[in-house]
Each structure stands twice: as C-alpha cells, then as structure tokens.
Point group: none
Chain length 220, copies 4
DNA sequence: AATGAATGAGCTTTCATTCAT
DNA sequence: AATGAATGAAAGCTCATTCAT
C-alpha cells in the first residue's frame, strides 16, 4: 500500500539516498585528498551522517573505494560515447573521444585523482576499469582496421596501441593539471596526439632504410 | 699492530653498508607492498636491524621515500643511456631506449611500483624525476627535429609528445606486468610503439576526411 | 515505552562520567607519579578505559594537563573561601585561610604535586592559577591595609608579601608531607605563621648587640 | 715518575676534567631547558664528547641529575656564608643572606631552575639540599634566639619559620625572574622581607574597625 | 678510556571497525 | 536503521643505555 507518494519517501528510497550521499562524499573526499586521507570520519562528516552509518551500507572502507572507479568510470565512458556519437571515420572519432576525456575531467575534476590513485588503493577496481576501457577501445580499433581506416596491425599490436593511447590521455591530464586540480588541455596537445596517430613522427624522407648519410651522422 | 684494512671493515664502511641495507630494504618493501604499507618496522625487519637504527640514517620515513626515486631513477637513466649508446638515428635510438626501459625493469622489478606510487607518496621526488626524464627526452627530440629526422613540430607539441611517449612505456609496463611484479614485454608491443612513431596508425589511403594527399602519401 | 530516566543513564550522562573518570584518573596519576610519568596508557588504565577513548575527550595529553590545575585550583579557592567565610578581621581570616589550604590538601592529597609540577608541565595553567590566587590575596591585603589592620605598606611591598605568604604555605606543605603524600600540619607551624604575620621575629627589646635605638624603632 | 709536569696532564687530571665538563654541561642544559629536556645526547654534545663517554663517568642519567643540586647548592651556601660574613646581629645577617641568595642567582642564572625542578626530577638530592640549607639556617636562628635577638619560640616553630623564610626566597626569585631566566630583585621586596621579620604585618594599634580588644591583644 | 652506532622499550596519536543504545 | 562512543592495533618517532671497536 503506497503512501501519499510525494510527501513520503519509501524506506528503500531513503536508503538509497543515504548510500548515494556516502558515495558522493567519498568521491569528493578522495578526489580532494586522495584515498590515503579519505578516512571514514571524513567521508561521513561530509555526508552529514554518523560514522557508524557507513557500515550499514558498506562492509569496509575498501569496499567503497572499490566501487568508486567502476561507477565513475562508467559515467566517463557514457560521456565519451555520447560525445563521439555521430562522428564519422576513425580520425574524427579519435579526436572527439580524446577531447571528450578532457571535457569529462572538467565536469568531474575529482575523477582524475580517483583514477590515478586507484591503481594502488583499489587495484581490483583499477584493473576492471582498465579492462572496460581498453576492451571498448579495442573493439573500436578493430572495426577501424576492418574498415581499412587504420593499418592492418595484429590483434596483439592493437592491444598495445590501445594501452599507449589511453596512457597518453592519462599523462597529458597530469601534465596539464593545475594546482587546483583542474585540467586545461592546450590545443597543441590535441594536434600532437592527432599527428602521432595520423602519421607518426618520423619525417617522410627520413627512416632507417637507406638514408642520406649526412643526415644520419650523429644527433648526439 | 695495525689492522690491515682488508680483513676488517672500518666503521664508516660498516655505516655505509647499513645505510645501503636500509635503502635496499626500503626499495624492496615499497616495490612489493607499496609506500603505504612500507612501515619502518617492515623495512628494518627486512634489513635485519632494530627499528631505532633506521633513525640513525634517515631523519624520517618520508626522507627515505624521497630518496628512493632519485637514486633508482638515476640508475634507470644510466642504464638507458648506456643501452642506447652507439645507436644511430632517431628511430634506432628510440627503439633501444624503449627496450632499455623494460630491460631495466627486469633487473629491478620493484622500480615500477616505486615510480608509479611516487606521484602520491613522494611527490617532490616524482616531479624532479619527471623533469629529469622529460627534459632529457625533449632535448633528444629537438635535436632530431633539427636534423630533420622528425617532423618539424612546435616546441609545445614536442612537450606533449614527450609526455605521451613516456606514458606509453609506463602503461605498457603495467599492462605486461605479471602477478609477481615482473614485466615481460612482447615483441608486438615494440612493433606497435615503433609503428606509431614511424607512421602513425592511419592507413595511407586514409580516412574519410579528405586530407592533403602529399601529407598522407607515405607511411612505411 | 519511554525510558523513565532514573533507571537508565543517558548517553550524555555516560559521556560526562567517562570524561570525569579520565580527569580523575589523570589527577591521581599525576599526583602520585608526576606529570612526566603520567602517560596516556597509565591514565586510561587507571580509568579502566581503552587508550583510544582518551582522545574522544581530550585532543592531546597536554590538554588534560592544562585542565588539571584550573579545575582543582578553583576547587581549592572555593574551599578556602568557604572556610574563611565569616571570619572577622585580618588575623582571623589569615589563619582560617591558612588552615583551609592544608585541610584542602587532606581532602585532595594529589593536589600538591599537581600544583607544584604544573610550573614546568603546564606553565600556562600555572601562571593563570598563580595570578588568580595572588590577585585575590592582594585584594584582601589591600582592604586590610585600607582598614588599618595591617601596616601601610606600598603596593609593591604588598605584592612581594603576597608571594612570600603563598610560598610559606607551599613549602610547609612540602615539609610536612609524609612519604605517602599526605600532609599533617603541626600546630606549631600555624603558630609560627601567625606570629610572623603579627609581630615578626625580632624581639621587641632588640638583640644583644647594642644598637642605635632610633634605628631599631621603625625601619625606613 | 712524573712527566714533565706542565706539558702533560696526568691521566687522573684529564679524567677529572672530562667529568667536570660533563657536569658543567649538564648544569647548563638543565638550567636552560629543564631536566626533562636534558638528554644525554644534548649534554654530551654541549661538552663536546661522545654519547658513550657519559657512561664512563656516570652510571645513569639520574645519577648526574642527583649530583647537580648538592654541588651547586654547596656553592650557593659558600657564597651566602661569605657574603654574610662579618655581619653583626640577626637583622643584618638575615638581610645580607637574603641579598646574597639573589646575587648568587645573578652569577649562576641556571641555578634557579635546577633548584626548582629538582623537587621532581632529583627528589633525593632536593631533600638533601633542603636538609643542608635548613639545618644551617636553624642553627643560625637558634643562636639568635639564645642571644635574645629573636622571640623565644619553640624548636618546632623555628623549623617552620626556617621553611617559610627559605620559601620566601624561592618564590620571590620566581616572581622576579625575567623571561631570559635572570632575576632582578626590587628593593621593595627586601623591605617587605625585612619588615615581615622585624615586626610582622599587623598594625600595632590594630585596625580602624573596632574589634574586641581581647582578641587583638595577643594571639595565643 | 673514548667512541658513536645499535638497540628496543616506550611514548603519543590515529582510525577502521564494533557495539550498545 | 541511525547513532556516536569505545576499542585496540598499529603507526612514527625518541632516547637511555649497551657494546663492539
């Protein structure tokens, strides 16, 4: 028998709200102070709840840590997918996804730290997240390969490439992170990323195969 | 009757040995368990010393943490430089350095974790290390650019590229790390890395976006 | 069914009881072993509580140290005031206060050590306490001076005298403290104190050495 | 067979010098930082000796603490005796001794702290010191009593009085100690002290408040 | 005898977790 | 279910004392 609907929240609704509040508080605290400083006390204080309440929703501190990245990672993927949606061709998709990663960081400034530290503080979650990301990416690249949009590399190479491209985003985010945690990606970084993908770095006439000796002499 | 020097260790020798033992123990413990779990107790136990002894050599736990990366990072750079020595041309140098990074990890399996976690547990050292690495790398790339070996990108692009390439190594190491911490880089990863550098990924005949044909002409 | 209040202790009541237990334990431990030996471990053990509990009530060891003297000092002053209440004239007030100090020590044997050591272990509290005591005493003496009950000495002299009289109590307590910490003031000490106040020590007719009578009359 | 005398110090001379250096260093350190902060490390550093050397001369930290007050106390007594030497009559002797205590503090600024804290950190020494001081003082007063210079009080009263007078000095020193530890006794304090001894505080004719004459007559 | 490093007990403090209300 | 105090294990660090040189 439902209560009057608007006025009353059902027990389970309330319960979910509290869980959500704890989750949100944890994300913020970890984003601001890192996992190491994210004590239960801090988290519950931020959520305006008693310390003990925490353990009604999570069995341990580690448990909420392990939940952070999967949930936020899914949001990130949704955001990227949505932004890349409608892009035509490999290159455009790449660029849009790339940009989307950084626009996501703008909306969720605390995500970067959660992501980075997770490797050490929530390793299981981190591995899972990486798997999610990379398998999606891999699919995308395999399609592009099938479509002839990218060079016909082996599956193993694709996996390595996927890791490198994900790596690029992560480190660039770190590189362009400002002291307050926000990230401002310069346009040159996009150019550099796209150039690497499109042609690599080596000059067309360069290369290891028989080259002008004068050039190859010694760059020290 | 004077001691003959060889037979007996002088006090300072012994002192240095102990310092070294502590350092080594710390490196191993951090490599295996991470900074967070690297308590003084664990470190001294591994070095077979009393807890108090630690404080005869380091003024604090943080101090030894801050020393880990600089010392090991210097070893890494030395190793890479030595391995890359004699290489001819940008491509060869790149490949050799790339491989050297992973051969170093083989010799020092605990380095990777020390390096990665340092960002959060020894941030000053990490920044310094990154500066060292990236500025060396940047110099190298600028020379290659001057020599016409790589595309004539802007300084800013070079910086971004350097970060991406360093990132690639780090993430690949993570990717191919086995549960016991050792890293086994498959040959395909090298191929993929070198391919990315040399031609990028996009197929010559290219994507759907019409591009300047002269540019798109020749990868491989 | 509401709890009837009497039977059950409310949370805040219990809380206050624990705080009080910690305070009491600290007072006893400091009284018996001194501040230096009053470790948190000893204090909580005496209060039959876990070490961690201490930090739910005090932010640091120093904090409880700083609270000891103010609280007990106020009790002492209340006791003395109450005992001296109703006394008529300077002399009676003096004597009653004097005796009250020692009767307080009987009731609170650990107070003496807390008071004495506070100078070094809780200097702020000690200064405050001394200020409280001496300013009250000074007011009292100035009134007696205004009433002509005591010699018309300068304000500065009064301050010095106040210190001397407080000193007398402190040292006499020390002198008559028994190994178990309890203090038993012999009646002669009271006599001596009152005699000193009333007439000083010098014989009216002066010493055996013939002195200039004019000098002996009235110093200054 | 003595060595050339001037050039060489005998073994025992050297030994004594080191002991003296340690003692002096301890006195200074305790005087400046208090017993609690007077670590062996600090003391030996100040004496320019190795930590281990300390234990060739003293069996424990406590031992040197227990030696501080007896030795310096003897110096103080010698100083006072010398200053009071030649004084004629109880009053002059008292005043000179009183002043001598403070002039001693000027010469040995660290003595006051050593004396005060000794009660808690070197209680045996403190008791001994007090015994030394007070027994000398007691003899002095008994002589004055025999000579009729002071009121014919009982032996027990004399003991109490002695404590009160010693107390007066100690507290006045504290009262007039400046932040740097030096003591500057104002002349009023001397006046107050001598007035107390000579006539007490109570006005001869009593207060202006009409009091029962029988009460005011003669205490006890 | 002098040295100074090694030792380890002990300190204060933090905090994840438990539990009585 | 919510609370918030109680718990106690563990941390980093200090320092009196010991001991090999």
């Amino acid at each position: 028998m439902k209560r009057t609907g608007v006025a009353r929240k059902s027990r389970v609704q309330k319960s979910e709200e509290i869980r959500e509040a704890l989750f949100q508080a944890a994300a913020e605290v970890v984003g601001e102070c890192g996992y190491a400083e994210a004590s239960i006390s801090r988290i519950t204080q931020r959520a305006d709840l008693a310390q003990g309440t925490f353990y009604n929703y999570f069995t341990s501190r580690q448990e909420i840590f392990d939940e952070l990245l999967p949930v936020l990672g899914a949001k990130m993927m949704a955001h990227i997918r949505q932004q890349a949606n409608g892009a035509v061709g490999y290159r455009e998709k790449e660029e849009r996804s790339f940009r989307a990663f950084f626009s996501f960081l703008k909306r969720m400034p605390y995500f970067l730290r959660i992501l980075n530290e997770a490797e050490f503080f929530a390793p299981v979650a981190h591995r899972q997240h990486f798997h999610n990301i990379s398998s999606g990416y891999t699919r995308f690249m395999k399609k592009a390969r099938a479509a002839g949009e990218i060079t016909a590399v082996s599956d193993e190479e694709i996996e390595a490439l996927v890791y490198m491209l994900i790596a690029a985003r992560g480190y660039l985010a770190l590189r362009y992170m400002k002291p307050d945690g926000s990230v401002e990606l310069p346009e040159e970084a996009v150019t550099a990323y796209m150039r690497l993908l499109s042609h690599g770095l080596v000059s067309p006439q360069g290369g290891d195969v028989p080259v002008d000796p004068s050039q190859e002499r010694e760059p020290r």
